[in-house]
């Protein structure tokens, strides 16, 4: 019991603490690639602190959804984070659910954010919400299928079981073809869900190009802080999924302090590496036009589908 | 070490390179005549050697069995008359100022290399190098088809190279599958690609792999042979290419593609039984016949007319081979006669084009009166291609009808119906062009052109006549040997 509580607290601390750092790291990498120094890596922490101190301004035409959404979003994303193995393969809440719970917790947050974007009645909000709904509806099947493709090797949809089993197998990648397809699909999904280039530009406020930013345009103060933090945690969730489902080496499979220490270091290195890669990718390619985004996500779906099909065919 | 075989392949290469380097018309003409004579002589010698000994070799690389020698005869003969015709044809083009001397020599060089690659292809034991040679002939043909660089020619050449390459890639995949299945038994080496070895161990090869391999080979090489539904490149290529090239395409290239299919069929028959390959080939053959019969009806361009006729006749040959037994005898005989007749038809067509500069059937009449050589060529070829006696095509078609009746009576009825349709339509179009009063005057041809082209036409007609009336004993021995090796078929199985 005590162990579970400690693990829960530890994972919460990791999630909350790492997420702003990752966002800052990505921004730093992009700045450096654009030949400027950019803000410090820890700037997002300062931003969050500042936002929490400020008084929020809420439009009088909004309903309870507007004020409730930041909390719902934050809570659902944090719970989703607790389902994903980070530094240890045994997550504290793994008994409560697996892939499907993860996907739908994240979807819950997205759903409320979409509603909140519509709530203020501004044109930007509605536009952002409809675009986000488009992207979300296309990424959901791809995400489920790609995790299924990996789940079938491990024989369970429970994420910690999957990671545990994958980590214990000594071979390079057990079933390369389905895993590769699933990895490609999941990477595309991760980029879409976290609102990164080429799907959405997190640094823009131009009407033509906003998706996520458009929905949160009306928010300020602590609400904005919670939403930003939740977005950062979503990024951590996806990066952890990619890192631990496909390259789980170093993860702590037992709960000894030494293993946890190594697991923590390995985990940090892996997601920092992935964050750097995202920064580089964002600097290399341009944002896609919206109808091309649907093609990209369709491609992700096909890849994930093929991953599942490959698994069956290669076994049969 | 068979010197004739070596010379048969080396001669066109030498002549081609020589024509490119020596930029003198007289010298080139002499070179090409020498080539024609050499090809004729060496092909006959190779055939003689094979009849006597069974198989001839050149080192470890070239090998000729009965089927190869049969094709050597076809390619050698039609190749030599084709060379003469080509010299006359492009010589006339050059005299009229359409070609420079450089382009003239380039054309003849490519033409000779084209013949060389085709001759190489049929004298190999290694099925992968067979593929390489056929691909090589495709590439040279592509350059020849688009030679005059007009819009239509480029379009036809582009279609040819794209459709042909796709087909040939599938053919290579079939080859790889065969290699894959034979590696178990013959080892990971060149041995696993040798047809003679494959034929020997065919019963032990994995049936599933061989079935898949045959399907790919049939589609792939079938594309090169102009089998429907992969025939789409054929009418355009034949119509837009310079006529000597069209003649070689129809007579030689389609024939070597059928040769490749036959090689694969032999292995398949011994591995999975003759029904599989036979049925597929019969099906595609009937489709080719149907497609060509319909299109011959509506043709307005005489080169396209002969092109569709080629599709029809390749279909007939394929039908014969699919039936097996006596069908193989008939199919091989059909290939030889078709090559002779079709090249004659194209020779005539080319002369008509040179004179009138258009390809419309409607505007051509009274050829026998105005251009006796061309008229005779088209008339004789038309009668032969329509399947009338006393030409060999009649014999082979009758034998195939008899064979198909034994397999299934309905097959024979359908075949006869399609044959009749093609007979009527082709003969109608040909007679329209050849008989009647002369129409336009056109530009008359130079004497040099007339000499060469008449020689080519004459040789072909004489040969057609001789083998139509009488099968020389040597040829009969070769055919018997071919039937023995390749004769497994649906008919033989009953």
């Amino acid at each position: 019991m005590l162990q579970t509580i400690t693990l829960v607290v530890a994972q919460i601390i990791v999630l909350l603490g790492i997420s702003p750092f990752l966002v800052g790291l990505i921004r730093k990498v992009k700045a450096r690639l654009q030949c400027r120094r950019g803000a410090g890596i820890f700037q997002p922490y300062a931003d969050l602190a500042k936002l929490f101190r400020k008084q929020p301004v809420v439009s009088s035409t909004t309903s309870w959804i507007f004020t409730a959404t930041p909390y719902i979003l934050f809570a659902s994303t944090l719970s989703a984070g607790l389902l994903v193995p980070t530094f240890a393969s045994l997550t504290p809440l793994s008994f409560t659910g697996g892939v499907i719970a993860l996907v739908y917790l994240l979807a819950l947050g997205t759903f409320f954010l979409i509603l909140a974007g519509l709530d203020a009645g501004s044109a930007f909000g509605g536009m952002g919400s409809s675009r986000e709904a488009l992207v979300a509806s296309l990424t959901e099947p791809a995400m489920i299928l790609s995790i299924f493709a990996v789940a079938m090797t491990a024989g369970s949809t429970n994420l910690s079981t999957i990671v545990h089993k994958t980590a214990l197998l000594e071979s390079v990648v057990t079933d390369p073809a389905p895993h590769l397809m699933a990895l490609a699909a999941l990477c595309i999904v991760a980029i879409a869900e976290t609102g990164r280039v080429p799907v959405d530009n997190p640094a823009t406020h131009l009407e033509l190009t906003m998706i996520h930013e458009a929905m949160v345009l009306e928010y300020s103060g602590r609400y904005l802080a919670l939403i930003e933090w939740a977005a950062a945690m979503k990024l951590v969730v996806f990066l952890s999924l990619i890192a631990n489902l496909f390259a789980p080496w170093g993860i702590a499979t037992t709960l000894t302090p030494a293993a946890i220490g190594i697991g923590l270091v390995a985990y940090l290195l892996k997601i920092a590496g992935l964050a750097v890669l995202i920064g580089i990718l964002e600097s290399m390619i341009a944002k896609l036009r919206l109808f091309r985004v649907t093609e990209l996500l369709g491609a992700a779906f096909i890849l994930a589908l093929l991953g599942v099909v490959f698994f069956y065919i290669l076994r049969g | 070490m068979s010197w004739p075989l070596f010379l048969l392949i080396a001669a066109p290469v030498i002549a081609g390179l020589g024509s490119l380097l020596v930029q003198q018309r007289r010298a080139i003409e002499v070179l090409q005549c020498a080539l024609a004579g050499t090809m004729l002589a060496t092909a006959a010698l190779v055939a003689g050697q094979v009849i006597a000994v069974g198989e001839v070799f050149v080192g470890d690389f070239l090998q000729a069995d009965a089927l190869s020698a049969w094709l050597d005869l076809i390619l050698g003969f039609v190749g030599s008359s084709g060379t003469l015709y080509a010299v006359g044809y492009v010589g006339e083009e050059m005299d009229r100022g359409h070609l420079s001397l450089r382009r003239y020599s380039q054309f003849l060089c490519l033409f000779d290399l084209y013949l060389a690659t085709m001759l190489l292809a049929v004298n190999l034991d290694n099925i992968a190098i067979l593929w390489i040679a056929i691909e090589g002939s495709t590439l040279t043909a592509a350059l020849l088809i688009g030679f005059d660089r007009s819009k239509a020619a480029l379009e036809a050449g582009w279609k040819f190279i794209i459709v042909g390459s796709v087909g040939i890639v599938l053919g290579l995949f079939g080859t790889i599958l065969v290699y894959y299945s034979s590696e178990h038994i013959l080892g990971v080496s060149n041995e696993a690609l040798r047809w003679s070895q494959l034929y020997r161990v065919a019963a032990e090869l994995d049936p599933a792999a061989i079935k898949a391999a045959f399907i790919f080979a049939l589609i792939g090489y079938g594309t090169k042979a102009g089998v429907a539904p992969m025939h789409t490149w054929l009418p355009d290529a034949h119509a837009e290419a310079p006529t000597p090239v069209s003649a070689m395409l129809s007579a030689n290239m389609l024939t070597i593609a059928v040769y490749a299919i036959l090689r694969f069929k032999a292995i398949t028959d011994r591995s999975v039984g003759p029904e599989f390959a036979g049925k597929l080939m019969i099906g595609l053959a009937l489709l080719s016949l149907a497609v060509s019969a319909i299109y011959i009806l509506v043709q307005r361009d005489y080169k396209r007319l002969f092109a569709y006729s080629s599709i029809e006749h390749i279909g007939i040959a394929l039908l014969g081979f699919g039936i097996g037994g006596i069908g193989v005898f008939a199919g091989a005989w059909h290939l030889m006669n078709h090559a002779l007749a079709k090249s004659t038809a194209f020779y005539g067509a080319g002369l008509v084009f040179l004179r009138y500069n258009h390809k419309s059937i409607d505007r051509v009449t009274g050829l026998l009166g105005q251009m006796p050589v061309a008229g005779a060529a088209i008339l004789v070829a038309g009668i032969a291609l329509a399947g009338m006696p006393p030409f060999g095509l009649f014999t082979s078609e009758v034998l195939i009808v008899a064979g198909s009746y034994t397999v299934r009576p309905e097959l024979a009825y359908v075949f006869l119906a399609l044959l009749a349709l093609a007979f009527v339509t082709l003969l109608y179009q040909v007679l329209r062009m050849v008989l009647g009063a002369p129409g336009e005057v056109g530009t008359s041809l130079g004497s040099q052109c007339r000499i060469f082209t008449s020689a080519a036409v004459g040789i072909n007609i004489v040969a057609l006549g001789i083998i139509g009336l009488y099968v020389p004993p040597g040829l009969e021995t070769m055919l018997a040997s071919i039937v023995k090796t390749f004769g497994a078929g649906i008919m033989a199985a009953r």
């Binding site: 197998l169 000594e170 071979s171 390079v172 390369p176 073809a177 590769l180 397809m181 649907t294 093609e295 990209l296 369709g298 491609a299 096909i302 589908l305 093929l306 099909v309 065919i313 290669l314 049969g316 | 290694n126 992968a128 190098i129 593929w131 390489i132 691909e135 090589g136 590439l139 660089r149 819009k151 239509a152 480029l154 379009e155 036809a156 050449g157 582009w158 279609k159 190279i161 794209i162 390459s165 796709v166 890639v169 290579l172 995949f173 790889i176 599958l177 894959y180 590696e183 178990h184 080496s189 060149n190 690609l193 994995d206 599933a208 792999a209 898949a212 355009d236 119509a239 837009e240 299109y295």
Partner: protein, 222 residues
């Protein structure tokens, strides 16, 4: 699935074959011709990697030469020829498709499944390498064929053809342990000459027709 049956050699080959397949999908989705050629270069590099892996695990040394030739010809020479042709003909705008991208991807997925079904009854060669490579090779050939018919510009037909050749080479190398060296040399030579001739053709098509849109190649009909 027992651990002991997982062989690292066949796994690595499978991995690189799967990378080749993903490159195929990328080519189907890309719209600019030069991007397609870049992905083709990447695919050829993966192909050479696969060949090198096969050579390493089977100790058949002439496959190293094939791998080297793949890089020289498919990753360097042919893309250079194609890029020169593109420069001259200015076809780098958006490629029009006969089939739009999502449907195209679905069709490619179906082709992959078809390829697996076709190769399923074929008995595997046994020992080191699996027959999955043969299935993936056939899938790449079929996808290459689809690329040829799904695009309108003449040059993308060439890309489709080259992808088909890549699939073939994968089949020959990974499934059949590489064809004998002389055969490989012959095939490479043919490929190079073919690319050259296609370059000539596109150049002449450009000069004569002033565009290389194959949907406009309709003069010769019936």
């Amino acid at each position: 699935m027992a651990l002991s049956s997982i062989d690292i050699g066949s796994q690595l080959v499978n991995l690189s074959s799967a990378l080749l397949l993903i490159a195929c999908f990328a080519i189907v989705t890309l719209r600019r011709l030069s991007s397609c050629i870049n992905v083709y270069i990447l695919q050829s590099v993966f192909l050479a990697m696969t060949a090198a892996l096969v050579a390493f695990f089977t100790d058949i040394h002439h496959i190293y030469i094939s791998a080297l030739l793949t890089i020289v010809i498919k990753a360097v020479a042919i893309p250079l020829i194609l890029k020169k042709v593109i420069e001259r003909s200015d076809v780098n705008r958006d490629l029009e498709m006969n089939v739009n991208v999502p449907s195209g991807l679905l069709i490619c997925g179906a082709l992959v499944i078809l390829a697996f079904f076709i190769t399923q009854p074929i008995i595997p060669l046994g020992f080191l390498l699996t027959r999955d490579s043969l299935a993936i090779a056939l899938a790449i050939v079929l996808i290459g064929f689809f690329i040829m018919i799904a695009r309108k510009k003449a040059l993308t037909q060439v890309i489709g053809f080259l992808v088909m050749e890549n699939g073939l080479f994968l089949g020959a190398t990974a499934a059949a342990y590489g064809m004998p060296l002389i055969v490989e040399l012959g095939i490479f030579f043919d490929l190079l000459v073919g690319a050259f001739i296609i370059g000539i053709y596109t150049h002449q098509l450009q000069d004569t027709l002033d565009n290389v849109d194959t949907s406009k190649l309709t003069t010769v009909k019936e």
